[in-house]
């Protein structure tokens, strides 16, 4: 077992752990804002490490002289960048849409954004 395989297994372990934390956070939290908090951040962090394992493996094969794996490595980096940009922006849009559609936080006492138009 080479060092690259050990790094890949560690990355896969971290990524799967955080993906499962995000999936269970969708069931354990009470309202839509806390579910968004749990799911988006945990699955983004887990996906960084899972795609990172793929990048490490394909870069290792590429370094051994198999140049056809270079496409896999570079396109995985592109997929990771697309995922990072779209996840953060989409989470912001979903939270704003949930607030404007009248969704209240669970057990909330005061809402500071009440009545503001450009929140």
């Amino acid at each position: 077992m080479t060092a690259l395989n050990i790094v890949s297994y560690v990355f896969i372990g971290i990524g799967l752990f955080f993906n499962f934390v995000g999936a269970f956070g969708l069931h354990r939290f009470p309202d839509v804002y806390t579910r968004l908090h749990a799911a988006t951040k945990c699955t983004t962090f887990g996906s960084i490490f899972l795609i990172g394992a793929v990048i490490v493996q394909s870069a290792g094969i590429w370094a051994l002289g198999e140049t056809s794996q270079s496409i896999m490595c570079i396109h995985s980096v592109l997929a990771l960048v697309a995922l990072l940009v779209t996840n953060a922006t989409g989470a912001h849009a979903m939270a704003r849409a949930a607030h404007r559609s009248g969704e209240k936080p669970a057990r909330a006492v005061v809402d500071d954004l009440e009545g503001k138009k450009n929140d």
Partner: protein, 85 residues
């Protein structure tokens, strides 16, 4: 080369847990959050499947899927908050 099959099986189990929330979730915003989470996991799973079968075309499919699901999320969010198109 490492074995990617247990990883993709764990990802599918994770997706099934999220799909339960899509079916039972109260209201449209919760379902939208769960669906966006499922989209993230599908993109990651496609990259892993590409490495498992050694086909680069799955990674390109994953890039296009990420961008199109982002557009879907923005439009459904705009619909939920009551804007006119």
């Amino acid at each position: 080369m490492i074995d990617w099959l247990p990883t993709i099986i764990a990802m599918v189990v994770c997706l099934i847990i999220i799909m339960v929330r899509i079916f039972i979730g109260p209201g449209a915003p919760t379902r939208l959050v769960a669906f966006d989470t499922a989209n993230t996991l599908v993109v990651t799973g496609l990259v892993i499947v590409a490495m498992m079968f050694n086909h680069v075309i799955f990674v390109d499919v994953a890039i296009v899927y990420a961008l199109l699901s982002f557009a879907m999320t923005l439009y459904v969010a705009k619909y939920i908050q009551g804007d006119k198109f």
